[in-house]
């Protein structure tokens, strides 16, 4: 299959402007500069593209929220990519940076922004060289900057590095961090589209979302809709890791089943050593765990919902039969505790508490009651947090207790007062 996003796999050296242009690069951009911004938004709307940052919000609709005629508008690319097991944005920016830059420029034109900020995960400092070189080339070629290609449209592009915080992937925390404030989310409203960066209307899109834009413009919305499903059109990069024979990024049409992705020869190629599959974290640490019987659902925004999970950023962490799910959950909760920004009570205190309980259980000092409390703490976080991080943190706990009560039971002392009566449903 020819790649739409990971084009460097088909075209060597596409990170160079010359190569990118020879292969159709920046044609979309030239086309767009002759269009009305509203028409650009309409094309993106018609394509059905949904945000690749996890929540799947329709991108065209998001752009249309920017108030018409706003004087100062910003476009921000979310390259915070800090979700466990997610490494797709990095590959895109490292190997095929111009496509993301071009997508962001189109977004800027569509909403009338004069500046684009690409907010990088701090640890990606090294990976950013290619992108910075690409930006430089594009400036020199007059594709970014003042009066781009004599169109009268001007736009700048800045790479900015975060300090390495998962929460700064949340769009409002990202914007706070970008403005030099503490990386904490704010309570929405105001939504970034109305009051974002410097309190001005702002579009925040995931890196991969941006990479989808140029092909949509060049090939049209109908072409795009031929890929993927009705409600989840387009290609998606899945990040495969854990116990699979061939980990890595795979560009797949949305709608492929999880089983195909993990076991298909073109993809994961099954579990090493012929071991049995145990569990799948479908969205890094933050989505509810899926088990074998869930694997035939299609990977789309709505597919996993039927089995109580989510597609999220499509970072699949596969675990075989050797993995103790309490251990895996402890790892995940350690991450969320470490990354909780501390702004809201349930997340700040809840992740701390859950980690303490999990440690106690892991060390063999736990009782069934502790598992009950753990489950209840996770439940109590639900629906109360300021942003979704707290919600994410409940998922591994609740789903592991639900699907793998035996892993917990094996570690804890029975307690007479409150028996561990989980997984009853």
């Amino acid at each position: 299959m020819k790649h739409v996003l990971l084009r460097h796999r088909d075209v060597p050296d596409i990170h160079k402007l010359e190569v990118y242009r020879k292969n159709g690069g920046y044609e979309a951009w030239q086309q767009v500069l002759k269009m009305q911004p509203a028409d650009v938004i309409d094309v993106v709307k018609a394509s059905g593209l949904r945000g690749r940052g996890g929540a799947g919000f329709p991108t065209g609709i998001k752009w249309s929220f920017i108030p018409k005629g706003a004087e100062e508008v910003y476009v921000v690319i979310n390259t915070d990519e800090s979700e466990t097991g997610t490494f797709k944005d990095r590959e895109l920016l490292e190997r095929n940076p111009h496509q993301v830059i071009e997508g962001a420029l189109i977004a800027a034109y569509a909403v009338g922004a004069k500046a684009i900020y690409n907010y990088w995960r701090g640890e990606y400092m090294d990976a950013a060289h290619e992108c910075q070189a690409a930006v430089k080339e594009a400036y020199e070629a007059g594709l970014i900057g003042e009066n781009i290609l004599e169109s009268g449209f001007s736009c700048d592009f800045y790479n900015h590095f975060g300090a390495g915080a998962y929460i700064c992937g949340e769009e409002t925390a990202l914007l706070n961090s970008l403005m030099g404030y503490l990386g904490q989310p704010w309570s929405k409203p105001p939504f970034p589209a109305i009051e974002g960066l410097y309190a001005k209307p702002t579009v925040v899109n995931n890196t991969e979302t941006m990479a989808n834009i140029p092909p949509i413009i060049v090939n049209g919305a109908d072409w795009y809709r031929q890929i993927g499903t009705e409600r989840s059109p387009g290609p998606k990069i899945a990040c495969l890791s854990g116990h699979v024979n061939k980990p890595g990024n795979y560009e797949v049409p949305l709608g492929i089943t999880y089983r195909e992705l993990i076991f298909g020869e073109a993809y994961g190629g099954g579990i090493p050593g012929g071991k049995a599959f145990k569990a799948l974290l479908p969205s890094g640490g933050s989505g509810p765990i899926m088990i074998d019987e869930h694997l035939d659902v299609p990977m789309t925004f709505e597919g996993p919902e039927t089995v109580g999970s989510v597609m999220g950023s499509a970072s699949l962490i596969v675990m075989d039969e050797t993995v103790n799910m309490v251990w895996a959950t402890t790892k995940a909760i350690h991450f969320f505790h470490h990354e909780s920004c501390g702004k809201c009570t349930p997340c700040r205190e809840g992740t701390y508490w859950m980690e303490q309980l999990l440690h106690r259980i892991m060390e063999g000092h736990g009782t069934e009651r502790d598992v009950r409390v753990l489950e209840n703490v996770a439940e109590n976080i639900g629906g109360k947090t300021l942003c979704a991080l707290g919600e994410f943190a409940r998922n591994p706990v609740l789903s592991s207790i639900k699907h793998f009560p035996e892993d917990y039971r094996a570690l804890v002392q029975p307690s007479a007062e409150i028996p561990l009566a989980v997984a009853a449903d």
């Binding site: 309570s187 501390g342 702004k343 009570t345 700040r348 992740t351 508490w353 629906g383 300021l386």
Partner: protein, 844 residues
């Protein structure tokens, strides 16, 4: 007023102003949604998640806009996916809020449980224990036992100084950001902030000195737990041991309402002593804020060197004596002196004291009018009586369409709460015009700033409508116009001309006689207004009536004392010798001083009468907005001191041989004498001054919404008296005297105020010593260059034979040709001092 929106909370229909948050709206219907991070004076953040409620909005048909109905015909509501934070959601028409459902209650229980997992539960030793919102809400929503393993508790630093005034207990902090938001949104001193993340989130200070703000103490009030405490109160007492007394700040002309909390304690010899000072709500005066000076400067009242006995000079020595002997002597001497007696009073005294003072001279001494304010810096009380800010005003109402002019004063240093409220008015959209010789803190918030040359204040004020079209429009077309004027860089006579010029501006632009319009004098003291109202003035009698036989004014009295024309002088609450106004006793035959301390003046007296400080007694002060306010005693009297009014009344009683009896209480001086003589006060008495009205936000109650973090006002909000222009417009403009305002050639010396100036009552509050303004001569670099003065150089100011040490500071903001003197107590002649360089020996 803003539009009203009707919503329904727990089945109760209420109407609240648009823009109100759900939490505040519910509170207006007496439904308490518990909060931690929410503060009605701060922007919402929705951090603590305590205020979760279910909010439903009526559903409308997208196409038609019609309300959709349920099958049973009732309105259909969209109740949202989750509970929402009532503190971040603002009311909208038709909104339904459910606060008392099981899910909302469960949510609160859960949040409390989460908060307590990291809270140290050291309530038994916590300063906030007993008046702590977290404690209260735990009682209401917390479980009886903890599910959290105590060994897993996070421990943290319990005593982190954020500077020497405020301490942080990191374990107790619940990360609500009230303190940081107060500092950035209200105080505009964003010197504290969160650092780190997660459970390690901690409040840090970025300033040097730490927590560098005149408002820092307020954060300890609004902190919903015992995480922030003042060095003054920290571990000083338990809240339930405290007895609150409603009183007033004695420090400046705003008359901040405060509560002084006291305790009788063994370690203070069984005396009742002051433990802390906190704001008392008065939305017309100080809202719920006080400056740190008001909070921390009270120690002078309990100082060991307070005068405790009457003293009489015997064989050249001031010797303790009885009240009767002292008073008899004073009465005899004064009566015998007659016309050659004179009196000087200070402007810290209460209205009752000042009234008795003028009565002593006018009544007991037979129409002797030789009385005046001892230290006259700012004139214009007669002007504000006519066109002063009208009754019914509230600076908190000023905003869009209104204009505020501030001239010749530095509000941030002189009357901080006015700085704060003017700044907030400008943030609400009022145009602010700041005029001064130099840069002040308020410039930043102004829409127009002008730095005029020394002496040009009157001319600038007089030309305000000609100077700049935008300024002229802002002044002329303002919906409301308030003008503050002070005395920085001006002589007394110049301030008089300035007041009249500004009065004429108000008349010309018709900004008099209605609320939120008029003149405000930035008086140097808390009751300078009272000095005018009570007519401690040689040419006025109480109620601003001119006296046909004016007496000698202060200058003439000082000259008379020197020359012998005046032979007996009675000084109450003033230190003219210390202030450089009077070189010594001169040719005086008899001198009485009524004081708290043995001041330089008192040391020269024949009789020294120990007065009570404001903390030991009651009375009334009238603030710069002409609001008459009551204060109450907080501590026992020190030694055998007496209230000033009583001492004066007793002298009167003796002179009149009992025909004028000493009133039984200050309240009677007010109701029986002041209210009868001072026209503007005729409808006032202690009862009317003590009236309270409902104020919003509701603070200080035992409610769960905002309990324990400030004092509600149960003692009275005072009464603003009507300026004469409110009943009849003055027919003609004020006469403005022609003055020669040229300054002598060369460097112009100009004293500027500092909140913490050494040498005044401040010095008794050790806590503030490190924050005292250092005596500094601030120079423009060109002037410094010419004088050969380097930054940091030691200098001496030579003032009439006194030498005051100072340090040179070369600063950008100083206008050329001017030397700003900061950190010096007010002193006559300071501005004509000679600046001398000190040759410091070079040390190895």
């Amino acid at each position: 007023m803003s539009d009203l929106v009707s919503i329904n909370v727990d089945g109760v229909d209420i109407e609240v102003p648009a823009g109100t948050t759900v939490v505040d709206a519910a509170m207006r219907a007496d439904i308490q949604i518990p909060v931690f991070c929410h503060h009605p004076k701060l922007e919402p953040v929705g951090m603590c998640r305590m205020c979760l409620v279910r909010i439903g909005m009526p559903v409308r048909d997208r196409a038609t806009g019609e309300l959709l109905k349920e099958p049973d015909g009732s309105v259909q509501y969209n109740w949202g996916r989750t509970l929402q934070t009532g503190c971040t959601v603002r009311v909208a028409p038709g909104m339904h809020v459910v606060t008392n459902s099981a899910e909302a209650k469960d949510a609160r229980d859960d949040i409390i449980e989460f908060l307590l997992t990291s809270h140290p539960l050291d309530c038994p030793i916590c300063d906030k224990g007993g008046e702590c919102p977290l404690q209260n809400l735990t009682m209401a929503h917390g479980g009886g036992t903890s599910r959290f393993n105590f060994n897993d508790k996070l421990t943290n630093d319990k005593s982190v100084p954020l500077g020497e005034l405020i301490y942080l207990d990191r374990e107790r902090c619940i990360q609500c950001a009230r303190c940081t938001r107060f500092q950035s949104e209200i105080a505009d001193d964003p010197v504290i902030a969160f650092h780190n993340r997660g459970r390690h989130l901690e409040i840090v200070t970025m300033s040097d000195p730490g927590f560098d703000s005149y408002w820092s103490g307020n954060t300890t009030d609004i902190c919903p737990v015992g995480a922030l405490t003042t060095a003054d109160f920290r571990f000083g007492a338990r809240p339930w041991e405290l007895t609150p007394a409603a009183t007033l700040s004695p420090h400046d002309a705003a008359g901040e309402n405060i509560t002084v909390s006291t305790r009788r304690e063994a370690k203070s010899g069984g005396r009742v002593v002051v433990k802390r000072i906190m704001p008392r709500q008065n939305e017309w005066v100080n809202e719920i804020w006080i400056s740190d000076r008001t909070r921390f400067v009270h120690h002078f009242a309990e100082a060991a060197d307070r005068l405790k006995m009457p003293l009489v000079r015997k064989n050249g020595q001031l010797t303790p004596t009885t009240w009767d002997e002292a008073l008899t002597l004073v009465a005899e001497k004064l009566a015998a002196t007659g016309e050659q007696a004179a009196g000087l009073a200070g402007d810290r005294l209460s209205n009752e004291d000042l009234f008795m003072f003028q009565k002593l001279f006018r009544k007991a001494l037979n129409k002797n009018n030789n009385i005046d304010l001892a230290n006259k810096r700012l004139a214009g009380g007669d002007v504000t009586a006519d066109v002063g800010i009208a009754s019914g005003s509230n600076l908190g109402d000023l905003g869009k369409g209104d204009t505020i002019v501030v001239i010749a004063t530095d509000l941030h240093e002189e009357v901080p709460i006015w700085w704060l409220r003017v700044k907030q008015a400008s943030e609400r959209g009022a145009r602010l015009i700041v005029l001064n010789v130099r840069e002040t803190r308020l410039d930043k918030h102004a829409s127009f700033v002008m730095h005029y040359a020394p002496g040009q204040a009157i001319a600038v004020a007089g030309n305000l409508l000609e100077h700049d079209e935008e300024v002229a429009t802002a002044v002329r077309d303002a919906d409301n116009l308030v003008i503050f004027y002070g005395y920085e860089g001006l002589s007394y006579d110049e301030t008089d001309a300035l007041a009249r010029t500004l009065g004429n501006l108000l008349l010309e632009t018709e900004h008099v006689g209605r609320p939120n319009n008029g003149l405000i004098a930035v008086w140097p003291r808390n009751n300078t207004q009272g000095v005018w109202d009570m007519a401690v003035h040689p040419g006025l009698t109480p109620g601003y009536r001119a006296d046909r036989n004016p007496g000698l004014d202060a200058n003439a009295i000082y000259a008379g004392a020197e020359s012998g024309d005046i032979t007996a002088l009675y000084i109450v609450g003033a230190d003219p010798v210390g202030d450089g106004l009077m070189p010594g006793r001169g040719a005086l035959d008899f001198m009485v001083v009524q004081e708290l301390f043995l001041t330089e003046t008192a040391q020269l007296a024949d009789v020294v009468l120990p007065a009570q400080s404001w903390l030991e007694r009651d009375g009334t002060f009238t603030n710069g907005e002409r609001r008459v306010q009551r204060y109450n005693p907080a501590i026992q009297k020190v030694g055998d001191s007496r209230p000033d009014w009583q001492i004066l009344a007793q002298v009167i009683e003796k002179i009149t041989e009992g025909s004028e009896k000493t009133p039984f209480a200050a309240s009677l001086v007010f109701s029986k004498e002041i209210a009868k003589s001072v026209r503007a006060y005729k409808d006032m008495d202690y009862r009317t001054l003590g009236q309270v009205v409902e104020q919003f936000p509701k603070v200080g109650g035992d409610d769960l919404y905002y309990g324990g973090t400030s004092y509600a006002n149960e003692a009275g909000i005072g009464q603003q008296w009507s300026a004469s222009a409110e009943s009849k417009k003055p027919k003609k403009p004020f006469d403005v005297p022609e003055l020669d305002v040229t300054r002598p050639a060369g460097l112009v010396l100009l004293r500027v105020a500092a909140l913490y100036t050494p040498g005044t009552l401040n010095q008794y509050s050790e806590l503030l010593h490190a924050r005292m303004a250092k005596p500094t001569v601030m120079l423009h670099y060109a002037d410094a260059d010419q004088l050969g003065i380097a930054d940091g150089m030691s200098l001496v100011l030579r003032v009439n034979g006194t030498e005051l040490p100072a340090t040179a500071s070369i600063q950008d903001g100083v206008p050329s040709g001017v030397a700003l003197l900061r950190g010096f107590a007010w002193r006559k002649g300071l501005e004509s001092a000679e600046i001398v360089k000190v040759q410091t020996p070079i040390t190895a």
